[in-house]
Structure formats: structure tokens, C-alpha cells
């Protein structure tokens, strides 16, 4: 009988080299903690990354790992997963890697629904190149490359993923270890491309970018934890909710004549609702959790089925027959 896996089975012997205080440490710890629960032995797990701070991740996992080139991790992962569907393949990327240089691969892997778990660490800055604005930086952001403020309208990772018809879209936060672990589990249980945006603090170049959802003093007023089938309620005293006013969401105070039954109830299968939640911005709270989950055939399974069906129908490949096919003639 196999012994149960532990966190240690997933920790590599390499010294972790992110800046002290980086949010990536928390994410690494969260992933290493939850991996044993999946019951997949380390030799069947592969982490594939692109370039950037987040993409150093595979070196610290005692699994198979491939630190590839900038933005292309989804393509490497697709080739591997398609030809080795039994493997548990994870992609680690960042806002620059996944949404700027690699934006094309990200949307295509999501629409194909390749069975990959994709973790996008969003710190809204280029960290490894030392502080330029990223495709998720807000307009007006002052950085080394935008001394007068960015005039570049940002991407919203979640709505990009939803727009690409990803079948699993979630958001979590680096320091919310419990929520991170639960979200990873949901992502792992999902068959198909699971996309998780992880809000991650870069304490060197963009410190406090997500303070409103991480600061213990105020986060309860800004974090909206999504739970399927439950009303959208938040606040330290759980006294605020989200109601639809016509087609527009609004924050309402519960009590004083406003009851829970008037609030929006989260439904993970509702793409329109997921889009609406994905577009929440102040004064609306920041939703975290699973925005959208649906089931669609995966690319890797569908292609492997074609191969299996072809073999059933035509028999295994016969090289001799293939070479001698077409119009042939014999010279005596």
C-alpha cells in the first residue's frame, strides 16, 4: 500500500529566491500544502512556466518542471498534455507573461479547453525587469516606463478568460491561504482549462496593490466571497449585499426593509453573471472565489478519442501499407 503523500514530497531542494516578503512565497506554500491531497504522486505532476518572477515557480516544486520562454507556457503545456493525457499539468504565469507577450496562447488554450490548471499571478507590475507597468496596471500608473502615468487601458484577467470561453474561472488572494487552497482544489477537480487569477503582492515595485482585499482592518468591507447558491453578502458584520437595480448591481445595506431574498444569488453556471461579477469595481466589492464553472469536452480528450477511434476503425498504423499506398506500379 502506498504511503500517503505529504507536503515534503512536493518541496524541491532548491533555495527559494524571490524577494523577501514577496507574495509568491505564500502561493508556493499554499500549493505545496494542498498538492498531497490530490493523491497524484510527484512523478505524474508537471509544472510549466514562462518568464517572470512567477515563472521561477517550477524550480521549487519536487515534480517535473519546465521553465520555458516568455509567454509560451500554455503552448508547451498543450503539447505535453495532448500527448501524455494521464499527467497532471499545471501552468504558472503572470500578468505580463500571460496577458501581454503570451496573451494569444492564453486565450487559445482556454477556448480549446485543454485540461490544464493555469495559475496567473497578478501583481499588476513587471517585477523581474524591475518595475514597468503591466497589462493589468491601472490607467495613470506611474512607473519607470510611465513617468507621467500610464495611458494604457488595462486587461481584466477574469473577463479575458470568460471572453475566451474558459470553462473554469476563479480568483483568489496570495495571503488568503484557506481560500487559496480551496480554490486550487476546485480547479484541480475540474476537467478542462482551470483559470485562477491569484492577486499577488509585489512588495518591491507595487506594494499594497491589493490592500483593500488583504488588509485585515478593511478587507471584510471590500472582499466578496462567492459561494455557489448563496446570496452575495459581505462586510465585517455580513450586513451588506449586492442587489440588481434594473440591470445594474448595487450595494445595499441589509435590514431596514432590505432582505436577503432581494440579493443576487451566485450561480457558477451563469456566464452573464460571471461577466458582471468579473467587472465589479469600486464602490462594488472585489469578488473572490469561483466565478464560472461549466463542462465542455477537453481538447486533449477529444483528440485522443480521434486517435483511438481511428485505430479501432483502421487498425493500428501499418507502415508497409502506408508507404505503398497511392498510385503504384511495378517495374520488373
Amino acid at each position: 500500500m502506498a504511503t500517503a503523500l505529504t507536503r515534503k514530497d512536493f518541496v524541491s531542494d532548491q533555495e527559494v529566491r524571490w524577494c523577501p516578503g514577496c507574495g509568491d512565497y505564500a502561493i508556493l506554500a499554499g500549493v505545496q500544502k494542498v498538492m498531497p491531497e490530490f493523491g497524484v504522486p510527484p512523478e505524474n505532476v508537471v509544472f510549466i512556466s514562462g518568464i517572470g518572477c512567477s515563472s521561477r515557480f517550477p524550480y521549487y516544486m519536487n515534480t517535473y518542471g519546465f521553465h520555458t520562454i516568455h509567454g509560451r507556457a500554455p503552448a508547451f503545456a498543450t503539447g505535453l498534455k495532448v500527448s501524455r493525457p494521464e499527467l497532471d499539468v499545471w501552468v504558472v504565469t503572470g500578468d505580463g507573461d500571460g496577458l501581454s507577450i503570451g496573451g494569444n496562447h492564453l486565450i487559445h488554450v482556454l477556448r480549446r479547453n485543454v485540461d490544464l490548471k493555469i495559475l496567473l499571478f497578478n501583481n499588476r507590475i513587471y517585477g523581474l525587469t524591475k518595475g514597468q507597468y503591466s497589462p493589468t496596471s491601472e490607467v495613470g500608473k506611474v512607473t519607470k516606463s510611465t513617468p507621467l502615468g500610464s495611458v494604457d487601458f488595462p486587461f481584466n484577467p477574469l473577463t479575458v478568460a470568460l471572453g475566451a470561453h474558459a470553462t473554469f474561472v476563479a480568483r483568489t488572494v496570495d495571503v488568503e491561504q484557506k481560500h487559496l487552497g480551496e480554490t486550487l482544489k476546485r480547479a484541480h477537480d475540474h476537467r478542462g482549462s482551470s483559470f485562477i487569477e491569484i492577486l499577488q503582492n509585489c512588495n518591491i515595485f507595487n506594494d499594497g496593490a491589493f490592500n483593500d482585499v488583504t488588509d485585515k482592518g478593511i478587507k471584510a468591507e471590500h472582499q466578496l466571497i462567492l459561494e455557489h447558491g448563496k446570496a452575495l453578502i459581505f462586510g465585517k458584520n455580513r450586513d451588506k449585499g449586492i442587489r440588481l437595480n434594473g440591470h445594474r448591481p448595487e450595494v445595499v445595506a441589509l435590514g431596514n426593509g432590505v432582505s436577503e431574498s432581494e440579493l443576487i444569488v451566485h450561480d457558477e453556471s451563469n456566464l452573464a453573471l460571471a461577466f458582471m461579477l468579473g467587472n465589479f469595481e469600486a464602490p462594488l466589492p472585489t469578488p473572490i472565489g469561483v466565478f464560472y464553472a461549466t463542462s465542455r469536452p477537453t481538447y486533449d480528450a477529444a483528440l485522443n478519442k480521434q486517435l483511438a477511434d481511428a485505430k479501432t476503425k483502421q487498425g493500428p498504423g501499418d507502415l508497409k501499407k502506408l508507404l505503398a499506398s497511392g498510385d503504384t506500379w511495378t517495374v520488373d
Binding site: 516544486m61 520555458t68 498504423g317 506500379w329 517495374v331
Partner: protein
């Protein structure tokens, strides 16, 4: 070119099975026909069917399609002219021929685009009715060449193809448009009679192509036969011609294009290595046919992944190689540029993939349907950093099979990306291929590492210097690789200066070492040395070999060396070149192999270059070599 018999007196080939001609018959030992028409006139199909018929008649054959990048340029314009040239002969031939003896021009534009290539007294067959005022104007003619004596130096045969096709199909109930579309079959039938080709193979082909449209099938066959009978009964042709079968090594043959041969070479390599094949590719001219072909062989098993772009094509292949597949990507010049970074990663992580560059005329978008050889330097050097890899090039359509197979073998043995160069001419050109017996192909040994004892990702084989292939799913071999400079043996990230140099030099040594297993470089001609050697690589094989044969028949001391292995060079290449007083390097670029040879060996070679998106003519090489011999 077909395979010549190995020994003199080898079996004489079979007799023809054509009906006895009623008219006079003359013998020819070789004929070059060019079919030209509008893109929609079915000239490629006509050419391919005539090729099949000629192959069945036992001739050696070589073909060169020539078509525009535009799928359907405006009808009747020069931009829309599509051509197909076929050389068939009783002797071994190496090219599709310098100039056509017979030009079939389906409209004025086809005539105008091709007439300059026809030698004096050459035969031009035209569809007279297509020479309307409107069509003449579209082609840019101010007068009618059929009546203004501008074609007097040719034998012009005017045939009412359109009218006779319509009569043949009178009462068929087909639309005028459908009737018009069978014109090419009338021409094919006529030419088939003229050269005494059997038309059964074309009928068989039509049967399968129009299985679901019996009325179209019937119309095509009717028109084909009408053309054949017209040739026999009309007074236009004084005689028909016989091109007797060539002496060819006995065996089973098929026609093969370079792209088909490339695809089959990869399939064969996967089967002989016992691993699945994975192709990651993005559509690009002239490479897409390899993707099409491999997509049809899923049962082998073969995975084909049409990626979102060129970079994803190569990246998915590298991902599959990491997982233990025989991984390939196919592209042409523009795609090569995009793949460069990922290929560098495969060099650094030492993963086996084959990158096939089916070269086309550049720079930039260039002439996508035309061949060139200007990607050689890019193949050898086109990556940042020191990133050496093996480069091999196919010489003929059939040679693409062997080269694809060899590329996979080298990639796996040395754990390295390999670049396979072919070009648009090889890709779409065809020749008879002696179908190989898979049992006689060498096995490709693949040793996946399984033993965790002493495993290190960069612990190398002492002879080949290749690292172990340790694929995910293997217990105890979990490891990480990547693009960052890595420590010797462990592969852990390392910025050590001395380690970096060690790893760079070790990889270079690994690649250089591949040359140790090459067969000796062959000299065609004066093996002990002579006045001139022509060095070539890739698709220039045909015209160089033919030119050298012609020169040698005239007693010139001219020889030919053709390189398959372009990086690393064969170890005996310098000595072989030094046997000759002069070294001429003929290539379809500005002199890329020339620079390498001069730089590596300090040999004062000179170049003969052509960058027109067209192969060398034999006569061009003969003339240049003759001048070199005089000077």
C-alpha cells in the same frame, strides 16, 4: 529522378499497353511539357494526371508545379496563370527540364506568361476560342498573337477546345460552367494520345474523385476520351510520339512529392522508434501539406496540433518532446523567424525535435510559392547566444523521406533539435520513388531513462555527449529544466562563469561530434581530383548533376559534390574540395554556403547564384562552369 539499375543489363522494363496508333509514330527520348492556364483551369490536376500516366508508361519523370500565391487571381490575368511542367524520359533525368518542348496555353495570359521559355520550333498548343478580344486585353495583348505572326518561330497548333468540349457533352444536361470546367480533360486526352500515354489511371482517378457526382464523372471521362480520339483523328498532328520506358531498378514504385516524402519519413521514424509522433504546426505555404498528410494518419498514432501561431507550433512540439514523443514542427521562412527563441530553448534544454523549414523566396513574405535557399545561415546561426544544432538538407523529392528519417534519428541519438531544410520546389515537385521496405529501414533506438540510481539530468553519454531522456511519469527522476544557464550534471540554475563556458562548449562539442558517423563524402566525377568541382546542397542537386553529366560527356573534368549535412560539415569535405583546381558553389541565394566554406577552410571558392524563385536551368550551370574552365 528514378533509381537507375545497379548493374548493366538489369531487367528491361515492361512494354506499354497502349492501343496501337493508327498514325505514324516517332520516337523521342525525352519530352518537356508545360501546361499553363488560369488558376481555375485545373492545370495542376492535368499535369499530375499526365505525370501518373507517364510513370505508368515506364518513363523516368520529374515535375515542377508553378502557381501563384493568390488562390484565384482575376480570371484571364497574368497574375492568375498557373503552370505545371513535366519532364519524362527514357533515360535517367534529374530536373523538370530547362524549357518546354510543348507549351499548352489555355488562354492568352497563359501564353504571354510562358512563351518566352519556349525554344524556337517548340510546339505551342492553344485553345483558339479563348483568344477573345476581352481575354487578349486582360492579358495585356494589343493584337492577337495567333494572327499577327509574332509566333511564327514556333509550331502553333490551334484547337477549338471549348467548342469540342461542349459538343462532346451536348445533351448531358450540365450547366455551361460545368461543361467549361472539363476543358482540361480534353487537353489531357489529346496529349495522352500524342505521347501514347494510357488513360486508364486517369479514369480510375476520376472515378474516386467524383464518386458522389456521377454526372460530373461521366462528363469528365467523356471529354477525356473525346480529346484522345480527337488527337488520333484530327489532322493537326502529323504523328504521335513514343517515349520508350527508362531503365529503372525493378521494384514497386509510386510518384512522390517532397512534402509527402517528408511526412512519410517522419511516420517511418516514429514507427521505427516505437514512439508516438506529435506535429505542432501553423499553416504556411509551402509547408501545410505535411500537416494535411499527417493529420490523416491518426491510427499510427500521430498527434497533429494546428497551433494558434508558429511559436505555439514549435513550443507544443518541445512540450511533447519533454513528454517522450517524436516531436516535429513544419514551417517556412517567416515561421522560422518566429520559432527561433523556442528552438534556442530546445538547444539549451537538449530536447529532441525536428524543425522542418520548407524554404520559399524571401525576404519577408517574398514569393510564397517559389523556391529559394536563403535560410541556410538562419538555420545554422539564427538564434541568440551560442546555440549550435545539426542542419540537414534534402536533395530531391524522394530524398526528403530519408532526410526526415535521418533528422529524427540524429535528434533522438544526440538529444538535440535538428533543422531539416527542403524548399518549395522539392515540396511540390514529384518523382518516381522506389517504395522502401520498412523491414529494411534501420531501427531507431530510444532509451528512456528509468533508473533513479545515479540519475542527473545533464549526466552525459560518454560517446555521444547526449543527456538522458527522462520523461514525466517516471518515478524518482523528477527534475526541472529551463532556459536559464544550468549547472553541469544537476541542471540546477547556475550563474557560474566557468560552468557557463563549460556547458556552451560541451553542447558545441556534442554537435560537432555528430560528423563522426557520416558516410564518406561522395564525389560524382573525378574522385582523384580534376579541374572543377561544383558544390551544392538541397534542391539544386538535379540541375547540377545534369549539368555535370553533360559537361563530362564533352570530356570536361568537372565533378559534383552534394551536401546533405550542412552542420556540422563532413570531416572529409575540406580534403575532397582541395582535390580540385576550382570550387564553384551553386545555390539559390546570395552565397551562404560559399561564405561558410570560405570561412571554415580558407578555400578560394566562387559562387554561382540565382535568386529568382526559380530553380537553376541546366544550361545556366553548364555555361557558368564552362566559363570557369576557360578562365
Amino acid at each position: 529522378m528514378a533509381v537507375p539499375p545497379e548493374a548493366a543489363g538489369a531487367a528491361e522494363s515492361r512494354g506499354g499497353s497502349v492501343d496501337a496508333p493508327h498514325k505514324r509514330q516517332e520516337k523521342r527520348d525525352r519530352v518537356v511539357i508545360r501546361f499553363a492556364g488560369d488558376s481555375g483551369d485545373g492545370m495542376q490536376l492535368t499535369g499530375m494526371q499526365f505525370t501518373s500516366e507517364s510513370a505508368l508508361a515506364g518513363n523516368d519523370i520529374a515535375t515542377l508545379p508553378d502557381f501563384p500565391a493568390e488562390i484565384r487571381a482575376p480570371a484571364g490575368t497574368l497574375a492568375g496563370v498557373s503552370g505545371f511542367q513535366l519532364n519524362f524520359s527514357s533515360n535517367e533525368i534529374f530536373t523538370a527540364g530547362d524549357e518546354p518542348n510543348v507549351l499548352v496555353a489555355m488562354n492568352p495570359a497563359a501564353l504571354k506568361a510562358n512563351v518566352d521559355d519556349v525554344p524556337p520550333n517548340g510546339v505551342i498548343i492553344v485553345d483558339r476560342e479563348a483568344f477573345t478580344d476581352a481575354n487578349l486585353k486582360r492579358a495585356g495583348y494589343t493584337g492577337n498573337p495567333l494572327t499577327d505572326h509574332s509566333l511564327d518561330k514556333f509550331q502553333v497548333i490551334q484547337v477549338d477546345v471549348t467548342k469540342m468540349t461542349a459538343s462532346a457533352l451536348h445533351g448531358s444536361g450540365l450547366s455551361n460552367r460545368d461543361v467549361f470546367r472539363t476543358r482540361n480533360m480534353f487537353v489531357l486526352g489529346m496529349l495522352s494520345w500524342l505521347y501514347q500515354r494510357p488513360i486508364e489511371s486517369t479514369i480510375k482517378y476520376l472515378d474516386s474523385r467524383f464518386k458522389k457526382r456521377p454526372e460530373i464523372l461521366e462528363a469528365n471521362i467523356k471529354t477525356l476520351k473525346a480529346g484522345y480520339n480527337y488527337g488520333e483523328t484530327a489532322e493537326l498532328f502529323a504523328s504521335s510520339y513514343e517515349v520508350p520506358p527508362a531503365k529503372i531498378t525493378p521494384g514497386l514504385y509510386r510518384n512522390i512529392t517532397g512534402n509527402s516524402a517528408t511526412a512519410l519519413g517522419f511516420v517511418a521514424a516514429a514507427v521505427k522508434s516505437g514512439r508516438p509522433l506529435f506535429l505542432g504546426s501553423y499553416p504556411i505555404t509551402p509547408a501545410s501539406d505535411v500537416l494535411h498528410e499527417l493529420s490523416g494518419y491518426k491510427n499510427f498514432p500521430i498527434y497533429t496540433f494546428q497551433a494558434e501561431d508558429e511559436i505555439a507550433g514549435v513550443s507544443s512540439a518541445i512540450g511533447a518532446a519533454f513528454g517522450g514523443a517524436i516531436a516535429i514542427t513544419t514551417t517556412s521562412g517567416p515561421g522560422m523567424n518566429l520559432k527561433a527563441e523556442a528552438i534556442g530553448l530546445a538547444v539549451k534544454t537538449e530536447l529532441p525535435i525536428v524543425v522542418t523549414d520548407i524554404q520559399r523566396a524571401g525576404p519577408s513574405t517574398g514569393m510564397p510559392t517559389k523556391p529559394e535557399q536563403a535560410d541556410l545561415m538562419m538555420a545554422i546561426y539564427g538564434r541568440h547566444g551560442e546555440a549550435p544544432l545539426p542542419v540537414i538538407a534534402a536533395a530531391t523529392p524522394a530524398d526528403c523521406f530519408e532526410c526526415a528519417f535521418e533528422a529524427v534519428r540524429i535528434a533522438l541519438k544526440y538529444m538535440t533539435p535538428v533543422i531539416l531544410l527542403t524548399d518549395g520546389q522539392l515540396a511540390n515537385g514529384a518523382e518516381p520513388w522506389l517504395v522502401p521496405d520498412p523491414d529494411r529501414l534501420p531501427d531507431i533506438e530510444v532509451e528512456l531513462r528509468t533508473d533513479p540510481e545515479g540519475f542527473m539530468p545533464y549526466l552525459r553519454d560518454e560517446e555521444t555527449l547526449s543527456r538522458p531522456w527522462a520523461v514525466p511519469g517516471t518515478k524518482g527522476l523528477e527534475h526541472r529544466i529551463g532556459g536559464l544557464s544550468a549547472e553541469n550534471l544537476t541542471g540546477n540554475v547556475s550563474y557560474s562563469p566557468a560552468n557557463n563556458e563549460l556547458m556552451v562548449r560541451t553542447r558545441a562539442r556534442k554537435i560537432a561530434g555528430i560528423a563522426r558517423e557520416y558516410p564518406p563524402t561522395e564525389i560524382f566525377g573525378d574522385t582523384a581530383g580534376g579541374d572543377l568541382v561544383i558544390l551544392g546542397w538541397g534542391s539544386t542537386y538535379g540541375p547540377i548533376r545534369e549539368a555535370v553529366k553533360q559537361l563530362r560527356e564533352k570530356g570536361k573534368k568537372v565533378s559534383h559534390i552534394h551536401l546533405r549535412y550542412l552542420n556540422p560539415f563532413p570531416r572529409d569535405l575540406e580534403d575532397k574540395l582541395r582535390l580540385f583546381k576550382k570550387v564553384m558553389i551553386a545555390e539559390m541565394n546570395m552565397g551562404q554556403l560559399l561564405k561558410l566554406v570560405r570561412a571554415d577552410y580558407l578555400i578560394d571558392a566562387f559562387g554561382f547564384n540565382k535568386i529568382q524563385g526559380r530553380p537553376f536551368k541546366v544550361s545556366e550551370i553548364v555555361n557558368r562552369a564552362s566559363r570557369a574552365l576557360e578562365g
